[in-house]
């Protein structure tokens, strides 16, 4: 047990978080659901490994290449599918994720289904932490700008946002590309943590798990996504003892969350210093009101 183990879990959580942050932008703030983001992780993972193993590039630039590769593919996918109605875009991402996995399974250059072993172990808790901090700052700054507001508008009322002059397609595309870039970098981090890559690491189950984390944390909340990634990555690890049953409960938990609290942990609110202040003020004023009322009723 001890430090090694905990750091390991946190590193894995951080890798998941990277993709989740991207998905948060796409799903939480722009309102588009994807069941194929593991595919972008795969693209990024394999591209990054290509740069480090075959071209001996240093880690960070290689990661950026991974992100870029995923972003480019997402642009192509987006061009072709973002005009489809909600449902259909979802389905297209599912098809895309599976297609990527199948292609990787069958193309022998990257090892096919058996995978690609021997990737250098470049990922550490520190660089995962660093990447995530940068990612969160970028995301937060983006959200608190007219671009972020426009994406939220697209999520809230697509028709009205068009009327208000928002180029809906451009913003959907932007959030898709950024989310794919984040996923690609996460994939690179993953490959260089596990020291190998296998197509089945990037299955539909993985894509679904990522989307579930975003929903669990609460759509439209960056802090929610952070908490969600931490909780939902570490919990299964801690519960490893109950190995086969933990997924059974996981499935039930998902249903339960959707039925009882679909707005997730944070319910769309952010954990920031100012929001905490507001929360305390609210509680204080509510107490004052009940006391006043109780006094006045005499």
């Amino acid at each position: 047990m001890g430090n090694e183990y905990i750091l390991g879990i946190l590193t894995l959580a951080g890798i998941n978080l990277m993709t989740v942050l991207g998905l948060s932008l796409l799903t939480g703030f722009t309102g588009l659901f994807s069941f194929g983001h593991a595919g972008f992780m795969a693209i990024g993972g394999y591209a990054t490994a290509l740069m480090t193993v075959n071209f001996h590039w240093p880690f960070i630039p290689a990661l950026l290449v991974g992100g870029l590769a995923a972003a480019l593919v997402s642009a192509a996918l987006g061009k072709v599918t973002l005009n489809l109605k909600g449902d259909y875009f979802c389905i297209a991402t599912l098809g895309f994720g599976e297609a990527i996995r199948l292609i990787l399974d069958n193309v022998q250059t990257f090892g096919g289904a058996r995978g690609w072993p021997g990737i250098p172990h470049y990922t550490s808790f520190l660089n995962v932490l660093g990447v995530n901090i940068v990612a969160i700052i970028v995301l937060a700054n983006l959200i608190h700008s007219r671009h972020g507001r426009n994406m939220i508008a697209v999520r809230e009322e697509e028709l009205a946002s068009q009327i208000v002059g928002i180029d809906v397609f451009k913003y959907k595309m932007t959030s898709l590309i950024i989310s794919a870039a984040y996923a690609g970098i996460a994939g690179g981090l993953m490959g260089h943590y596990m020291t190998f890559l296998q197509p089945k690491m990037f299955s539909l189950a993985k894509s679904t798990e990522l989307t579930i984390i975003v929903i669990f944390g609460g759509l439209g909340s960056i802090s929610g996504s952070v908490l969600g990634a931490l909780v939902l990555t570490s919990l299964p690890e801690i519960l490893r003892a109950f190995s086969s049953w933990r997924l059974v409960f996981y499935g039930l938990a998902v249903i339960f969350i959707m039925i009882s609290r679909p707005e997730g942990l944070m319910g769309g609110y952010e954990l920031t210093p100012s929001s905490m202040k507001k929360l305390f003020r609210n509680i204080a004023s509510k107490r004052k009101n009940t006391l006043q009322r109780a006094g006045g009723d005499k």
């Binding site: 671009h147 507001r149 939220i152 068009q162 009327i163 208000v164 002059g165």
Partner: protein, 254 residues
């Protein structure tokens, strides 16, 4: 030559002609009314003008430019905005956020600017916030600006929708049944508001309405639509006395 011209505007859905060969001019700076029985095609015309529906045939000319079938956001940029029959506010956002979001294109800083928090970003954000605050004050929503839009009383929601539309500094404002669900008092207030904003914002306004007192009260010119086709056109008095209009609304004398 009006600010908005509909030329032979036609829209069919399968076998149904929702709008049939409509020709109409809207004079600049006027308040024009668009009336007709339910299903006459009025909202469809609004949807065609704003690019939500694609035209089957015909043209829409705005301020001298052909805007037929352009993307909705481009039409908004060229100066036409609207409100909806069933209010489409950003319901979970506050009043302030609704208006602030709409102010967006009065700024042009890029994604990179926002991420880096560049001086350009800061300056423009400040300006946007000032614009939003000003607009909210003019529209009398100052004291509710932090309320969630969904929690506003109905009348104020409509006012907010208009405020949001005005954030784009349009030349033409389309109002779709703005008085729906209002009592006579509220309708009075709305009429005053519409006249005021026409002056203050230099607007041309086109209104779809069923409240005849509002229509006859403030509209200078009216087009009557029935079954997708233009039935009559003229001043309120002319339209009120037009035989075919009376028939359409009240039926034929037996």
């Amino acid at each position: 030559m009006g600010i908005l011209e509909l030329q032979g505007l036609t829209k069919t859905f399968g076998g149904l002609t929702a709008v049939g060969d409509v020709n109409f001019n809207v004079e600049k700076d006027s308040i024009t009314g668009l009336i007709g029985p339910n299903g006459a095609g009025k909202t469809t015309i609004f949807n065609l003008i704003t690019g939500v529906y694609k035209v089957t045939s015909g043209k829409i000319i705005f301020d001298g430019k052909d805007i037929t079938n352009k993307e909705p956001y481009l039409i908004a940029e060229s100066g036409i905005t609207r409100t909806f029959q069933n209010i489409r506010l950003f319901k979970k956002l506050t009043v302030y956020e609704n208006v602030l979001t709409a102010c967006h294109y009065n700024a042009n800083y890029s994604l990179l600017d926002s991420v880096l928090r560049s001086p350009k970003f800061r300056k423009q954000e400040k300006k946007l916030n000032e614009q939003a605050a000003e607009l909210i004050e003019i529209m009398g929503l100052e004291d509710r600006k932090d309320l969630i839009a969904n929690n506003l009383p109905y009348g104020l929601q409509r006012r907010l929708e208009i405020a949001r539309a005005l954030a784009l500094m349009p030349k033409l404002l389309l109002l779709d049944e703005p008085a729906a669900g209002m009592n006579p008092d509220e309708t009075e207030q709305l009429m005053k508001l519409i006249s005021e904003i026409r002056k203050k914002f230099n607007l041309t306004i086109l209104i779809i309405e069923h409240h005849m007192d509002l229509v006859m009260g403030i509209c200078e010119n009216i087009m009557v639509l029935n079954f997708g086709c233009k039935l009559a056109e003229g001043t309120p008095t002319e339209v009120q006395n037009d035989k075919s209009v009376i028939e359409a609304y009240l039926g034929v004398e037996v």
